[in-house]
């Protein structure tokens, strides 16, 4: 099975985010980066499918030059080669642009399966995978919790809401977006790192691919939300405090 895993490099989850003076974006020189967590699950799923059915795992990424580190890490975990469509615009590009760049980056090469994470931990648009599927004319399914190859294609388990699931059958080639927790991600090993040094990483530019980005939406301003993360204590008699808590959980936290 020839598999592509699309991944994104995002600011490390625990980063202290400071908005730059102009308010257009965060000060990214202060950040450290890592593989977007849902994409790490997609990579793991790709590696497991390869281990089971044979084939190849290619990692594709549209991102700035630093994203090469994420591809190297993926190769250390077992991916066979990498493709990086390199441009700083991808740091805050909309999914539509990213999907177009990835589609071009795959360069008409035929793959059986394309995997992406469900969404990115930074922008969280949750669109790139589905959009890419449409651009490549592939059937897709999202929020996948299980992937099985079967005669004539795949049988996948989709997560629905409220504890429901659904199996979906589809032909190959296809694209799946993978839900976090579908598997247990492997750790990078010393042996893997040593092997990764010799693997191929193809770097492409938008100009080489003949792609001009035409964003469909832009982030005009970013800012720290008003909500301060302090513990809010409910005062009053037990009855009053309980009633206040229920009100807060319902309408402020919206978890009930």
């Amino acid at each position: 099975m020839k598999i592509v895993v699309c991944l994104k490099q995002v600011p490390a989850k625990d980063s202290l985010l400071r908005v730059e003076a102009a308010g257009g974006w965060v000060r990214d020189s202060e950040l450290s980066y890592e593989i977007n967590e849902p994409d790490a699950f997609a990579l793991e799923e790709g590696l497991r499918l390869k281990e089971k059915h044979g084939g190849e795992v290619v990692v594709a990424c549209a991102g700035p030059a630093r994203a090469a580190a994420a591809i190297r890490e993926a190769m250390a975990k077992g991916a066979d080669r990498g493709i990086l469509v390199e441009d700083d615009a991808f740091i805050r590009a909309d999914s539509f642009s990213t999907a177009r760049a990835l589609a071009a980056g795959l360069g008409g090469e035929a793959f059986d399966l394309i995997l992406t994470g469900l969404q990115s931990d930074d922008l969280g648009f949750a669109q790139t995978g589905v959009s890419l599927a449409h651009l490549l004319g592939l059937p897709h399914a999202t929020i996948i919790m299980q992937v099985e190859a079967q005669e004539g294609g795949l049988r996948v388990k989709r997560e629905l809401e409220a504890g429901w699931f659904q199996h979906v059958e589809m032909p190959l080639p296809a694209l799946l977006t993978i839900q976090s927790g579908i598997n247990k991600v492997r750790y990078a090993t010393l042996m893997g790192i040593k092997k990764a040094k010799t693997k191929e990483l193809k770097r492409l530019t938008l100009a080489e691919l003949g792609v001009t980005l035409a964003p469909r939406q832009t982030i005009r301003r970013v800012y720290v939300p008003q909500k301060t993360k302090r513990t809010e204590l409910m005062e009053g008699t037990p009855k009053e405090a309980a009633a206040k808590l229920v009100e807060k959980l319902k309408f402020e936290a919206r978890v009930l």
Partner: protein, 628 residues
């Protein structure tokens, strides 16, 4: 003439046999690195004098059996001259025999009696009392005991009982000779090789327990200990020095609470694998059952790396850093672990904020802001390295507050890093060298950038990393950083602190990585004494301390007890502490209180407080006088 020829042939055959078996045991393709340790030769010789000649460890761990053993061993030395003379007679001819009337004969006879008592006592213990820790009955032990008894009785007979040169005397001489040569045959193919390997292994043992080696520089194939060809000279010595006494297993907290790890068996399995021409040392239980590997992943990952086994070992074996942790490293480096918990620890640490709990750095940030901790910028003398325990654990933060008060009262110039990652300790101890290399590389850059010269930490695990593991990194070593555990700093500061001691009963739980890993037991006690504590010691204290259950990554790997079928290490340790009757259990490591407080909650003992020595000392600081 015939007798002399027969003797010469027998002697030659025995010696040849001896040499052949020693060769068989020691001739294996192994690594040259790390080489045997020759540093601090004086200390090493003194150690050999105490532990070999005086038998201090043998006796300390098991007084009765130890003394009996000492009698036998001292007797062997006393008999060196007797045996030399005895054998020379074989060369010179038995007709040269003269009745012995020298003082040495009397001396040796006294020892012959002592040795006989010793060996009979040990035999009684081994074959009648049969303590479980010795394992299955050993045939060679019986043979050796019989040979020793024969040697002693034939000596006594030859000395006084029989007329020198008589036929009966000659027969007696031959029995003694054959017994002696028999020893040469038995020793190299049994645990009795410890007679030779033990003292050497003791000499070359690490100065503290659980020390890990650096990977061989420039050797891309070195992924940790994977194959028998990865053994180093000291490992080979260790495998053949083992006397199978089981002191290590008796001291092992994991084993004591009923887990399957048995440090003695780890060493013996490695020895068996080596001699059987095995290839890969460790793997899954299935692989072990199929005879493909010799040590199981399951056992290896139960180790707390506390070093109790190494401390108890009478023959200088290094079970932990040089075997168990290195074997873990081999498994992890090749991605051959199957435990989910192990994988989770690593995948958690791989991602920011790079701490073993995977908790947000935000909590630390808030804490430092609220407490207004000074940030280290290279102008202060000490970098106060907080470590994950003080950074993220609520109790650890209390310790940090206490440290702040003491350091300021002692007018120490200090600061903390604005952002700390893990130093890599749990990763490295759990076998993930790659994680350690990544984290240490970034950290060394920080230390270089901030011009760090002195590191102070409340975490003996971090102290061990910065004072031992990191020293193998040239860029770090060239910084010449001095490392202190806070027990050292506090002990040093005591004279300058305004203290009002209050008398209270305290028991002190020695952290493994402080007492055994760093060799410090007096400093924390000095701090406690200065705060007014009257110390009630537990049976396991000082270098013979008993782990809290957190070491070797176990705090994060967590004993996976599905049910209540066995005790937990922390429960056992807490029970021992509570039994002293002291209302305060003092510690000097941020992980011990996590484990011990958990055990206290389980035991419903709200009345027993677990406090760091810094917290105890800070409570005795006189409030600063108001300045005008």
């Amino acid at each position: 003439m015939l007798a002399r020829t027969a003797f010469a042939l027998l002697l030659a055959a025995s010696v040849a046999y001896f040499v052949r078996f020693v060769y068989w045991r020691f001739h294996h393709p192994i690594q040259r690195v790390p080489p045997l340790r020759w540093d601090h030769p004086g200390e090493r010789l003194w150690r050999v004098f105490c532990e070999v000649l005086l038998q201090t460890r043998v006796i300390r761990e098991r007084p009765v059996a130890g003394l009996l053993h000492a009698l036998v061993m001292w007797g062997f030395f006393a008999f060196a001259w007797v045996s030399a003379e005895h054998l020379s007679l074989g060369v010179r001819g038995l007709e040269a025999a003269r009745p012995s009337d020298s003082w040495y004969g009397v001396f040796a006879a006294a020892w012959a009696v002592a040795v006989t008592i010793g060996i009979l006592g040990l035999t009684f213990r081994r074959f009648v009392l049969r303590p479980a820790v010795l394992g299955p009955l050993s045939g060679t032990s019986a043979v050796v005991a019989a040979l020793i008894v024969l040697l002693m009785t034939t000596y006594l007979l030859g000395w006084r009982g029989l007329e020198a040169g008589s036929a009966a005397w000659q027969v007696n001489w031959w029995v003694h000779t054959l017994s002696f040569l028999g020893m040469l045959v038995v020793i190299p193919q049994s645990k009795h090789l410890h007679l030779l390997a033990g003292p050497v292994a003791i000499f070359f043992r690490g100065r503290t327990t659980s020390g890990m080696r650096a990977l061989r520089e420039g050797d891309d194939d070195d992924l940790g200990m994977v194959r028998f060809t990865d053994l180093a000279p000291k490992d080979l010595l260790d495998l053949h020095a083992c006397v199978e006494c089981g002191r290590c297993t008796q001291a092992c907290p994991a084993n004591v609470v009923g887990q399957s790890l048995n440090p003695k068996e780890v060493i013996l399995q490695m020895q068996r694998g080596l001699l059987a021409g095995g290839e890969v040392i460790a793997g899954t239980e299935e692989e072990a059952a199929a005879g493909k590997v010799w040590v199981t992943e399951r056992d290896l990952f139960q180790c707390l790396s506390c070093g109790a086994c190494e401390e108890a070992c009478p023959v200088g074996i290094e079970h932990v850093g040089r075997k168990i942790l290195d074997l873990r490293r081999g498994l992890v480096s090749e991605g051959r672990t199957t435990s989910d918990k192990v994988g989770e620890l690593f995948t958690t640490m791989e991602r920011a904020p790079h701490n073993p709990w995977g908790v947000s750095h935000e909590a630390r940030r808030k804490f430092l802001e609220a407490e207004k901790f000074p940030f280290f910028d290279g102008t202060q003398e000490w970098l106060f390295w907080m470590g994950c325990g003080l950074n993220y654990d609520p109790h650890g933060q209390e310790v940090a507050r206490a440290m702040r008060r003491i350091l300021d009262a002692g007018a120490v110039s200090w600061g903390v890093l604005a952002q700390e990652t893990c130093c890599g300790e749990p990763g490295r101890r759990a076998g993930n060298e790659y994680l350690y290399l990544q984290l240490s590389e970034k950290l060394v850059e920080v230390f270089q950038g901030k011009k760090v010269r002195k590191i102070l930490t409340c975490d003996p695990h971090c102290a061990r990393m910065f004072d031992a593991d990191y020293r193998a990194i040239p860029d770090y070593e060239s910084l010449g950083i001095e490392v202190q555990h806070h027990s050292e700093t506090l002990a040093r500061l005591l004279p300058s602190l305004p203290l009002e001691p209050v008398r209270e009963a305290v028991t002190f739980h020695d952290p493994c990585y402080l007492a055994r890993g760093r060799g410090l037991t007096a400093e924390p006690r000095a701090v406690l004494a200065a705060s007014g504590a009257s110390l009630i010691e537990m049976a396991h204290h000082g270098k013979r301390t008993f782990c809290c259950g957190a070491g070797g990554g176990q705090l994060y790997l967590a004993e996976d007890a599905p049910g209540h079928d066995r005790q937990r290490v922390n429960h056992r340790r807490f029970a021992e502490a509570a039994a002293t009757g002291a209302a305060i259990v003092a510690v000097a490591c941020p992980y011990c209180p996590i484990m011990l407080k958990d055990a206290a909650a389980y035991a419903g003992r709200d009345d027993v407080a677990v406090l760091d020595i810094a917290e105890i000392l800070a409570r005795r600081l006189r409030a600063p006088a108001l300045s005008c």
